[in-house]
Amino acid sequence: MALQILLNFILAFVWMFLNDDWSFPRFAAGYLIGLTFIAILRRFWPHDFYVRKLWAVVKLLALFAKELFISSIAVLRHIVSPKLNIRPGIFAFRTELRSDWEVTVLSCLICLTPGTLTLEVSGEGDVLYIHAMDIDDAEKLGEQIKGTFEKAIMEVTRS
């Protein structure tokens, strides 16, 4: 992915050299032209076209913002309700993500989801111990995390 972006920048600079014009609009035009060339020649690359991955990153960021908003509202509802009607607990969650980077992003995301907080990552990095504020059903919560976050992270890291 990084190589494709670098090539795109180089193509934009080549375009600026060809026109002998060092302005930003010329750079943008060159970048777009390079983008179309990379898109046309994408089957010669071992990896996927990088715009698709960029789009996955943007989607992950949007998910991050959305979950932060929902989770604060959920926590606030618990705080201002007159009776503390919560059942906290710690449950183990087995993840399929492998590399350190993926597990870090996942645990950061979990810290910002509705009423969950990562307490501990096991030594092998495959089990996360999560403190949940309202543990209705650990299985259901785990499934939910798997469905949304793991999928979004995998879309970014695996092509």
């Binding site: 932060l68 926590v75 705080i79 919560i86 645990s107 910002l112 907080l117």
Partner: protein
């Protein structure tokens, strides 16, 4: 346009201040360390982010100045606060801070015990 922009900025700052105040209230009210850390990491983060975004929009629209420092501040707070919450919770659990009496489930205790036994045997 300026009317709507003003309204958005006011709402952002007010909402952020309200969130921060309520999460402080949560710190007093919730019963144990872990639940308090829920309130501190989530609502306070969102509150600070809202206030910073409001300030950023104000500088951009009314003073014609795009303040990159505020944007960086937003990003840094966004990245660091969940990590801080995680570390607080982890340190508390490892030093044996008890959970609230009404907690239902604890998967971490047997795992931690196993790990300690392994450490002492090896």
């Amino acid at each position: 346009m300026s009317m709507i922009g003003e309204l958005i900025i006011v709402l952002l700052v007010l909402f952020g201040a309200l969130l921060s105040a309520l999460s402080t209230f949560g710190l007093i009210r919730l019963p144990d360390v872990y639940l308090r850390s829920h309130a501190a990491t989530k609502s306070a983060t969102l509150g600070v982010l809202c206030i910073l975004t409001g300030a950023f929009l104000y500088f951009m629209f009314y003073l014609d100045q795009v303040s990159a420092k505020l944007l960086l501040g937003i990003v840094f707070v966004f990245i660091t606060s969940p990590v801080a919450g995680h570390l607080n919770g982890r340190a508390a659990y490892r030093t044996g801070v008890p959970m609230w009496g009404k907690s239902v489930q604890d998967d971490l205790k047997p795992a931690l015990k196993r790990e300690r036994k392994q450490d002492s045997s090896s």
